[in-house]
């Protein structure tokens, strides 16, 4: 027992390693699995997320996710693992590359086109102001048969009514 400090050192290091292993894997809960499975789609069923799919195949895949998580894979690494094996269709969110990039670009393009069309229309419609419109002129009629309301009050009334609707 001459080099007692060596033994203690080894013991400490082992404890440390054990601690590291525990920190990495630990207990993988069903919730952890679902967290990842939610971001994946069943590779064979139609439009079914992996966390709700009830087939045996999906149950197996969920178990596989659990194994990968326990082995220290991060969420994104698990997703990549599945994508490599089963193709892009397992990703709920399309990649931002390849064909799938269009899926992201097109709505933006569409919105920009929409804004552009709107600006054009506004310009065109506001540019030419017509003189003759279908609205009723404002001046109150000079003949007021039975009204005993003051004229300016009536004018204000009509102005505000027009503004209303």
């Amino acid at each position: 027992m001459k080099r007692w400090w060596l033994w203690i050192g080894l013991a400490l290091i082992s404890l440390l390693l054990v601690g590291v292993v525990y920190a990495q894997g630990g207990e993988v809960t069903k919730d952890d699995i679902n967290r990842v499975a939610k971001q994946l789609y069943c590779p064979v069923c139609e439009n079914t997320p992996l966390d709700v799919c009830e087939t045996q195949a999906c149950a197996d895949w969920r178990e596989q996710i659990g194994e990968l998580l326990a082995a220290g894979y991060s969420d994104q690494e698990v997703i990549n693992y599945f994508t490599e094996r089963y193709g892009d269709r397992v990703r709920a969110l399309p990649r931002q590359a390849g064909f799938a990039l269009w899926v992201w670009i097109l709505p933006v393009v569409g919105t920009l086109a929409g804004i552009g069309i709107m600006i054009q229309l506004f310009r065109r419609w506001m540019g030419r102001r017509t003189v003759a419109t279908a609205t009723i002129p404002v001046e109150p009629s000079p003949v007021r048969a039975s009204s005993d309301l003051p004229e300016d009050y009536v004018a204000r009334l009509e102005r505000e009514l027009r503004e209303w609707e």
Partner: protein, 664 residues
């Protein structure tokens, strides 16, 4: 024997529809009234014929005439009566016949109306409605025949897909179909108006109730579908951005835009081209929606070519789209705006923005829906576009629409002074900010959720105030009690206040959606009896498990779970799994404990050794019942907006006749 009668009736209807289409066109070109009249009568025979046809199919389903292929695939001896009847729309062929019957019925009603004021529109309305029927009844006669016979008689049928064996199956498809079919009528009138150059708002006025009814049914169909999914499909939610869901949602979006946009044409003679575009889009999307629901084309391109239905639908949509757009382009000059835009801060501008937002939203949903199919065509590999994509892309657009919904009703026609608008908006905005600060302090830190709550409060307050303001004015003028004033106000101006009620419904629905989208929690775990799962402050304790046979081939496994909050037992629920032996299909039916604050949603996902352990998944869905409540308010509001006001309409018509003759 009886189904043969049904087949004959269906074929006769096809012949009648073909005749009506040709006769109406011939009568129009020759200018001969009697051909158009004949076409009208022929069109009116279609509803009774297709009704008879549908009835014989229902008879075959109820009685169990399994020699009919359709009955063999959708019905079975052990199904309850109501399910046998609903099997009419449970499979492709039957549902196409049902669609045709609904279309024919609506057309029948349209043929009955007084055509004195717009006789020239009749031939074209007949052409479009009968033409659409030619397509659908042609499909059911040649390609998707519900009366097709097998060469032998099976002893029993396969029965309806277990997913469809619930009361939600009764209401959801018919209401959705009524919505689809209802939109064909305004489309027919729009096309008639274009061709005959009667592009004044007349066609809008006469189809206003049709549009509202179609829109109501479509909204109801979507709501019922969501509720059915939530109650029965067992994945904790109500909307999955599934292609079939999207196919029903897109015509709703363009239909909503159309519903609003036509108001501008009525009031100011503007946005005429927009209205045509919107109704043409809605019609196309309605056909597309029917097609997607019935074929699996979006899921897999391969199923597209398996039956002729796919390519035929596709061709029909293409042909009608080209014809509609061509007609529109030819008559573009007739659709010039009568008025100009006076200011950016005006109701007209707000409606234009509204149209734009709905269209870009529809476009985004469309891209997401067809991309899997297109990617398979182009790259050979299919991608999935799931809810995370849709949420990300549509959320900003929905937020903008919600904001617009609050501001636009406060804008005046032609021009609103910015100060005036500001004066009406600053205090609701302040209230909303205060609410958001409060929520932030209570722990809500998600920016998206905070923005959502801000908008919901803002729009809710402004819309509510518009209504209350009217009630106050009425009370001041007439001294009515609150409730009476409330009721009479809506009664006097149904379009306006019905609209406000609908908007309030939307606000409540938005609240429910924000709650579930941002704050849903879930947990899953395996329990022994007495053990529990904890989530969101609730504790779900597993007690017992039992298995028992249900009707027919059904086996039910049911768990008893107690839901606690703290030490208080809130409710005992029974989540279960239904197993259908014939088709080897399982359904996971959730058990709910519902309050306005949240739903505790419990699913039984597995078990071992007869219940020694059982696995549960528990969701907490905050605010979800605001969604359903909002839906109810929405429906009420639409009814208020559309309810006929015979007295007011008479008043509206009379003055027009007494004032000096104007061009109509």
């Amino acid at each position: 024997m009886i189904p043969d009668v049904g087949y004959l009736a269906m074929v006769t209807a096809l012949v009648g529809a073909v005749y009506a289409t040709i006769a109406s066109l011939y009568g129009f070109f020759k200018g001969e009234e009697r051909w158009v009249n004949s076409a009208r009568h022929a069109t009116m025979t279609l509803a009774p014929l297709l009704g008879l046809s549908s009835l014989t199919l229902i008879y075959a389903l109820v009685v169990g005439d399994f020699q009919l292929k359709y009955v063999a695939t959708t019905s079975s001896r052990d199904m309850p009566l109501f399910l046998k009847v609903t099997a009419l729309w449970g499979g492709q062929n039957g549902s196409l016949l049902f669609w045709s019957f609904l279309m024919a019925s609506f057309t029948f009603i349209v043929m009955l109306r007084r055509w004195d004021e717009d006789r020239e529109l009749l031939p074209h309305v007949i052409f479009v409605t009968a033409g659409t029927l030619v397509f659908f009844v042609g499909l059911t006669t040649f390609v998707a025949n519900p009366f097709e016979k097998l060469s032998f008689i099976p002893p029993d049928g396969q029965g309806l897909n277990p997913l469809l064996r619930h009361p939600g199956m009764v209401a959801h498809p018919p209401t959705l179909y009524l919505g689809y079919v209802g939109f064909v009528i305004p489309y027919a009138f729009a096309m008639a108006a274009l061709v005959t150059r009667r592009t004044d708002p007349h066609w809008i006025r006469v189809t206003r109730r049709w549009t509202l009814a179609a829109w109501l049914f479509l909204s109801l169909g979507l709501l019922l579908g969501g509720r059915w999914a939530y109650d029965v499909l067992g994945w904790g939610g109500y909307w999955a951005w599934d292609p079939v869901e999207n196919a029903a949602f897109m015509p709703w979006l363009t239909g909503t835009a159309f519903l609003h946009s036509v108001m501008i044409q009525e009031k100011r003679g503007m946005l005429k081209v927009w209205n045509m575009v919107l109704i043409i889009l809605t019609y196309g999307l309605v056909i597309f929606g029917t097609f997607i629901t019935r074929s699996g084309v979006i899921s897999s391109v391969h199923s597209f070519a398996q039956s002729a239905v796919g390519p035929l639908f596709f061709s029909f949509i293409a042909v009608t789209a080209v014809a509609s757009v061509a007609t529109l382009l030819r008559r573009l000059d007739d659709l010039k705006s009568e008025n100009r835009l006076d200011a950016l801060l005006s109701r007209e501008a707000a409606f234009l923005l509204n149209n734009m937002l709905f269209i870009t939203l529809t476009f985004s949903v469309f891209i997401g829906t067809i991309s899997p199919m297109v990617s398979e065509l182009v790259t050979g590999e299919k991608i999935t576009v799931g809810p995370p994509w849709f949420d990300r892309v549509t959320a900003p657009q929905f937020a903008l629409l919600l904001a617009l919904m609050g501001i636009a009703p406060l804008m005046a026609w032609r021009k609103t002074a910015a100060q005036r608008l500001g004066r009406s908006l600053w205090w609701p905005f302040l209230i909303a900010v205060v609410v958001v600060i409060g929520l932030f302090l209570r722990g809500v830190h998600s920016w998206g959720a905070l923005l959502g709550f801000l908008l919901v409060t803002f729009v809710g307050v402004t819309t509510l105030w518009e209504y209350v303001r009217g009630v106050i004015a009425r009370r001041r003028a007439r001294g009515e009690p609150w409730l009476v004033a409330f009721w009479r106000l809506a009664g006097r101006n149904r379009r306006r206040y019905g609209g406000y009620i609908v908007h309030l419904g939307v606000v409540c629905m938005a609240l429910g959606i924000i709650g579930t989208e941002f704050f849903q929690q879930d947990t899953e775990g395996t329990l022994r009896p007495g053990e529990s799962l904890e989530i969101g402050g609730f504790r779900t304790v597993y007690r017992t498990l039992r298995t028992y046979p249900g009707p027919g081939d059904l086996i039910v496994t049911e768990a008893t779970v107690e839901i606690y909050q703290g030490d208080q037992l809130l409710k005992t629920v029974h989540p279960k799994r239904e197993f259908y032996q014939n088709t080897q299909q399982t359904m996971t039916i959730p058990a709910l404990r519902s309050t306005m604050a949240e739903d505790v949603y419990v699913l039984l996902t597995g078990w071992e050794s007869g219940g020694a352990t059982a696995t549960f998944r528990v969701y907490i869905n905050p605010l979800v019942n605001w969604l359903w409540l909002g839906g109810l308010i929405f429906v009420v509001g639409t009814l208020v907006a559309g309810w006929p006001d015979f007295e007011a309409e008479r008043r509206m018509v009379m003055p027009r006749l007494t004032i000096a003759p104007q061009q109509v």
